[in-house]
Each structure stands twice: as C-alpha cells, then as structure tokens.
Symmetry: C2
Subunit: 370 residues, 2 copies
C-alpha cells in the first residue's frame, strides 16, 4: 500500500475526527475508496473504536432511486437509529463515475433528500468528516493523469495541520475584530472587482480540517464568515460545475446586500435559476478565504477548489450558524453555491481600510507590500 494512504488514514482518524477508544464510528466507503477504507479500519482498530462499515455507492443509489416511485417514507427507523447512536461518521468519497446519478430525475432526488432530513440531522450531530480517496474518476474530472492526481490530493491532505491552524487563527482574529471587508481586483484582462461586505458582529470559522475546529472536510484550509450588506461588483474567474452545468466568467453586482445584476460567459440560465431559487439566493451566505497552499490548481471539485491558497470565494444562499451571534438567523436559502476568484495578481483584501493580503501574500508573510 502507498505509504500516503496510511498517512491519509492517520490524519483523518487523529487530527480530523479525534477518534478515541470506544467511539462508535460509521465508516462510509465509496466504490473505489476500498484501499483507504482498509487503512482507516486498521487505524480505528488500533484506537479501540467500534465500526459499522457502509457502502457509499452512487450506482446502488441510482438503481434504488430509479426503481422507487418517489413516495419515500420519512427517516426509516434502522437508518435513523444507526446515526443517532453513532459518535462519528467518516465518509470516504471516491466513486467510479462522477456522473453516475445524472439520469435520476431531480425531483425524485430532492424528494429522497427531503425524506432523510432527520437522518441527515442525526449524522450532522456526530463528529463527521468527509474526505476523498484519489480515484481515476476524480482524476478525470480534474483533467489530470492518475498519478499526477494522487500527488495533488496528498499535497492537499498531508499538511502540517497544527501549523496551518495557527496561521488561520490570525486571519480569524482579523475578521472577528473587523466591521468591513473590501475585495479589490484590478486585472486588465478581467472585469473589475470592488466589493465591500459588512462582517460586524459575525464570527469567523477557522476551518482547519478537524472537528475540534468545527471543520468537517479533509482537506480544508479556509477561514470563512457570514457577510451582509454587500455592495459593489465581483468577477469570478474560476469555472465551476453546478448541477452538471459549467458556469464560467460569472459577474455579480450587489446593491443593499442583494444581487441586482448578473452575467455569465456560459450557462447564464443556470445562474439565473440559482439566483431565483428564493429570496436568500440573491444574498451572500459566505465569504471564504482559501489558505491551503498545498492546493495549487483548480480541479472542478469544490472540496479542493475553495481551499486553494491565494483565492477567495463567495457563496450565494445559506449562511452557516457557526458564524452568527447566538440566536440570530443569518441569510436563509435552499441553496449554497460557492464561486471562486483568484487573488494572486493585482488584487487585495482590505479590512477596515488596512490591506491584509496583497497579490496572495498576507501581511504576516515575507514579501508583503502594504
């Protein structure tokens, strides 16, 4: 076995999920994540955890959903009981075909998802962590050779997380103390970006790929908060696939916190549909600052893309509760769609009038120019 698979399993079990003796763990293994499953199972055994292994197969889901008439029973007792009694859920992604469920009618998929609300809440109440095993299917989605993609994934995952968490804590402190963030990008080859966002009273999350940091993805490596009162315009130069449609060159204009104008270089209809979902879909739910320098290219996989160093992302739609004052409701929506822009050139992040990052370099790093 590739030594990196074992290291991935160790990072997942120790740093991310903090598994201890007697923990009741659900280990979900995707179709081609078997090898990582084996490595994780050995780590779980060594820590004295208890394991139920589930099979996360898109092809089995597709067959079940296509066979079903769509009138799903809510929260089946056995499924609910499994997650209600679990301490941790480790989800190892890595299927054989990223488009395996595209011929399931979307209303049936939504009805199924809705019928599992209680199951999902029970799962989210555990110390859950999602990661991926590098498969050929994911390499293909990323447009990369298999071994090249393995290098990419392990560079992103096998970090010094303690050290990254400490660096991200600086960024969190800056955002927590801030009233306003300004994102400016003046590249000649792109429409201008100049956006101000209020963050006063909001709490940033140091997403350090560990349940101890309220962070549930491995890799992670971003600091995010829930902005409001957004004003200005922003251009997203990173393409992204939403509902199997590639969105490119999205431009949004905000007034009073709301999108009042939008354009897309491709699939503008899909963008319109997202923004029309509900009232909250026209307001921002998230401002995220990517700080994982192990991720050095876009692979059309949001788990990686939004954590890339020298990028920021904004999500229209739902805000995370962790960013909001106790008892306060943030922006609510059925959607949460992330869009990313590269900040490595002719760009800066200002907080309350002071530059915190210029051309991808933070003010606490060598080479920073205020």
């Amino acid at each position: 076995m590739d030594q990196r698979v074992r290291e991935h399993a160790q990072v997942l079990v120790d740093w991310s999920a903090r598994i201890g003796a007697g923990d009741d763990v659900v280990l979900s293994v995707a179709e081609d994540a078997h090898e990582l499953g084996v490595a994780v199972a050995e780590e779980l055994g060594e820590r004295g955890a208890n394991v139920v292994t589930t099979y996360g197969s898109d092809e089995i889901s597709r067959a079940f959903l296509r066979g079903h008439d769509g009138d799903f029973e809510a929260d089946p007792a056995h499924e609910l009981a499994l997650y209600e009694n679990a301490d941790s859920v480790l989800r190892l992604g890595g299927g054989r075909n990223t488009t395996a469920t595209t011929d399931v009618p979307s209303d049936k998929r939504q009805a199924y998802s809705k019928s599992r609300t209680g199951v999902r809440e029970a799962r989210m109440d555990t110390d859950w962590v999602s990661t991926v095993h590098p498969t050929r299917s994911l390499a293909q989605q990323a447009g990369m050779a298999y071994e090249e993609y393995q290098d990419f994934v392990y560079d992103a995952i096998l970090r010094d997380w303690e050290s990254l968490a400490n660096e991200m804590a600086r960024m969190k402190d800056v955002l927590d103390d801030a009233a306003e963030v300004r994102i400016v990008k003046e590249r000649e080859d792109q429409p201008p970006t100049d956006l101000t966002l209020a963050v006063d009273g909001r709490t940033a999350v140091n997403s350090a790929a560990s349940v101890d940091y309220d962070s549930h993805n491995l890799p992670s490596g971003e600091v995010f908060t829930a902005p409001y009162a957004t004003e200005g315009e922003v251009f997203f130069d990173v393409p992204m696939t939403i509902n199997a449609q590639e969105l490119r060159d999205v431009k949004l204009t905000f007034e009073d916190g709301e999108v009042v104008d939008f354009e897309a270089g491709q699939n503008e209809d899909e963008l319109a549909a997202i923004l029309d979902t509900d009232a909250g879909a026209r307001r921002l739910g998230e401002l995220g600052i990517g700080m994982n320098r192990g991720i050095d290219r876009f692979t059309d996989n949001i788990l990686f893309d939004e954590k890339m160093g020298d990028t920021i992302h904004l999500a229209v739609g739902r805000a995370y509760d962790a960013c909001l004052p106790e008892g306060e409701a943030g922006n609510d929506s059925a959607v949460h769609v992330d869009m990313i822009t590269d900040m490595s050139e002719d760009s800066r992040i200002e907080v309350d009038g002071e530059v915190v990052q210029r051309n991808g370099t933070f003010r606490w790093e060598d080479g920073f120019e205020a």
Copy 2:
C-alpha cells in the same frame, strides 16, 4: 448486465426475503458483489423498501481486527440499533479472496465474534437471507473457470422454488412421521456406511430458500432434522475445508449417539480438534438431505455442497431449535461442522424399515426401485 443477475435479485427479494413496501432492509454488499447489489437495490426501490447499504469487506475486517488489541466492547450501540430496527438483512457474499482473513489470530476472531452476540441475535431475529454473487475468487475456490462458475451458481439459484418446496414437503412429511432413519452405502471402493439415527419427536425443516420456510440461504434445497441416539459407522467421500484445512475421507463410528472412533485420510488432527471442542461436538446436531438438483458438483462451499441432489450430510455439534419440540434443548455445542456423502450409487435411505431413496432416486420419482 447479465439478465441472470436481475433474476437472482428478483428471487432474493421476492421468493427468499418476501420484501414489501416500508420494510427496513440492511443490504450487505461484499467486495465484488457490486453488480448484484445494484440489481437488488433496484428491486428494493420498486417494492418501496427502505435501504441501508453496508460493505461486507473481508479486507476491512482483517485490517480492523489486526489493528485492535482484542479487548472488544460488547455490542456497540450503533451496530445493535441498526439491526434491532431492521426488518430484513440481505447478505450478498462474493469477495476477492476467500483466504483474506487467515492471518488474523483465531483467538482474536473468536473474541470479536463473542463480543457481537447481541448484534448477531438481533440480525438473526430479522428476515435475513444469505446469498453469493459468483466472483472470480469463488470460481477459483471451486476449481472452475469464471463463466463456468457463473453457470453453476445460476443453475443452483434460478430454480422453480415453488415446485421444489412442494417436493421437499413430501420428504419433510416422511421424516416428521418417522421414528428411525437408516443410511446405508455399500460401495466397493469405500469403507461401508450403515448408520441408524432416531428422529422420533423431531420436526424436519423444509429449507426452501425462503424466510416463509424458516430457510435463510439462497440457494437452499435441503430437508434437515435433528437426530439423536446415532449408532453405526459412516464414511464421508466429499472433501471439505474447515478452518482452512482440507478434510478428506472422514470415517466416524457412533455408539449410544456419540463418536467413539474416527479417522481422516488427511488432516486428522483438525478432525480431532473439532470433536474435542466440547461434549456436544461428538454428537450429531443435524441430518440433512440434499435435494437441489441444480447443484451437480462439489465446489468446496458448504452453501452449495450440502444442498446438492443425491447427497446427505451430517453435522457434529449444535442442533437447530426449529427441529426440536417446544422448550426442549437439543444437542448443544460451540461448533456445527457439516460432512457430506454422495448417495447416488449403491446407497439407500430407509425410514422405519422402508426405502425412501435408492441410488439418489426418491420413491415418488420415475425409476425408483424399492
């Protein structure tokens, strides 16, 4: 997909497990049983069942057990809750290596099994059914080519089960009314077999591969009961692998229901160890009559071998409760080891002095000679 995979799924879901709308089903899919898993999931969807899919991976079990120190917690809450709330458990066997767990120390394996007593009882309380998907690994164990093995498996599974159940009901009636069974075999090339077994007061099980018949294997096709007061000698001409040891040419001599002498042409030590397990290991727990003529050769897999037409099998060790009068304890033991002998030549089964089967032909069949 091979049409036979779909038919297998239908037989499993309808005839064997009798799945209906709203049933909470645990679908356990072995490493290489994915294709059957897909077919079964579609059937379960069509019937309106609810599914949790688990992954039955020997390699993951091995890794977990080898990692663990062996001090297992009893019946973890999440695992117990899953099975206590399930209506049916469908186990699709078919791994990649039948010897994948041989380097797990047997005491650790036993400790794990013992720690899961409550989980196992909860699972046995459901309408559970075990079947196998024909894999290359199982073909290799059977000494067959892959496509040849597929034909073999589907011949055994895709039967007219209704009709076989009716025929087996005849054999069950004969045994239920009987006081004594005699097994005689007079082949010149083998040591003689002449065994009498008391079955008075015992109930035979018509194992017709359906939970409605108290039968939990697909394929099945045997009628079995719990004999006692065994006298005489028996020679087993079918080799079998027990604990990764091949037993050949086993000869047992019984007096007053107990093995008083034994021989094996190979691995006699393993046979001795089995018989020395406990007091019950020297007494019979089962007499089974194989009636599935779709199974026409031995493949070193007890799921198939013991159901083969024109064979009988005897198990030393534990008896099944279903064969015993209400409240009566049958032979008890930690083991239940089946041994098989071919009855197609120079052989007969007598019940209370009347021949019921000669040279593999039952008395209700054409060509029977009393």
